[in-house]
Subunit: 147 residues, 2 copies
């Protein structure tokens, strides 16, 4: 698709890329640890995937959620596949904190505050560990589903 941003670009800093999808980290200083899982093929909806593909994609999404939760200790994780502006299947995985710019609203809501700078820097430092931790999980996605 010529006009699709996610067909032309990675969509963030590449962490891992497999046969069917890739994981990127989003550079948003207000939301450290924000990752996306992006399906390679230009497909709009989960229901356009077959059952094995849906299963694989959600397995990766929830495994990434688990890594982020364990490394970054957010108060909540948000998962979302919206795609109103870029209808190319991608999942947002966003660690949320009570002092983040939007909490308790969605990250697409109006900004309420800036996080304390030192706290934000500490979270950013933790977020920089995510690529290694996520890649450690990747072996379990490439073979057959063993669990």
């Amino acid at each position: 698709m010529d006009s699709c941003r996610l067909c032309k670009e990675e969509g963030g800093a590449l962490i891992w890329s497999g046969e069917d999808c890739r994981i990127v980290q989003v550079n948003d200083p207000g939301l450290p640890g924000f990752c996306r899982v992006i399906w390679h093929q230009h497909i709009a909806e989960m229901s356009a995937l077959n059952h094995a593909q849906r299963h694989l994609l959600m397995r990766i999404v929830v495994d990434v959620e688990e890594v982020i939760a364990s490394a970054m200790k957010p108060v909540k994780i948000n998962l979302a596949s919206l795609g109103n502006q870029v209808p190319h299947l991608h999942w947002h995985i966003i660690p949320r904190y009570e002092d983040d710019p939007y909490f308790p609203d969605s990250v697409w809501s109006e900004k309420r505050r800036d996080t304390n700078e030192v706290v934000a820097l500490k979270r950013q430092a933790m977020a920089e560990l995510l690529p290694v931790l996520i890649r450690e999980k990747a072996d379990s996605w490439t073979g057959k589903d063993s669990k």
Copy 2:
């Protein structure tokens, strides 16, 4: 959990209830067809479920997406598990249209417009068919995963 809305209430008009989760329709005149899949137990995150539970829940979410897409012909479907305000695992499944109140933003963003009243009423009428169509799918969730 005494203070949790989704422990005390259905969370919408009940369409279907199984052993582990339920499906409700949300009464939002601006977003006809908006459904939720709510895990019965008070759990915050997908990664707190075991693999079979995650698989079942997402199978139901994507099947509901498929029914909504086929019956209501939206331009996009949004899926989201946020839970910042109610940290009890629930999925939003929201059909989106170019003339809905928020498009192309998230439904948690600022309202942009009202949908034409006749169009909204037609969509509401289609949304009233969803409970029957969704219940027809339910047999495939109660046995073992056969696909």
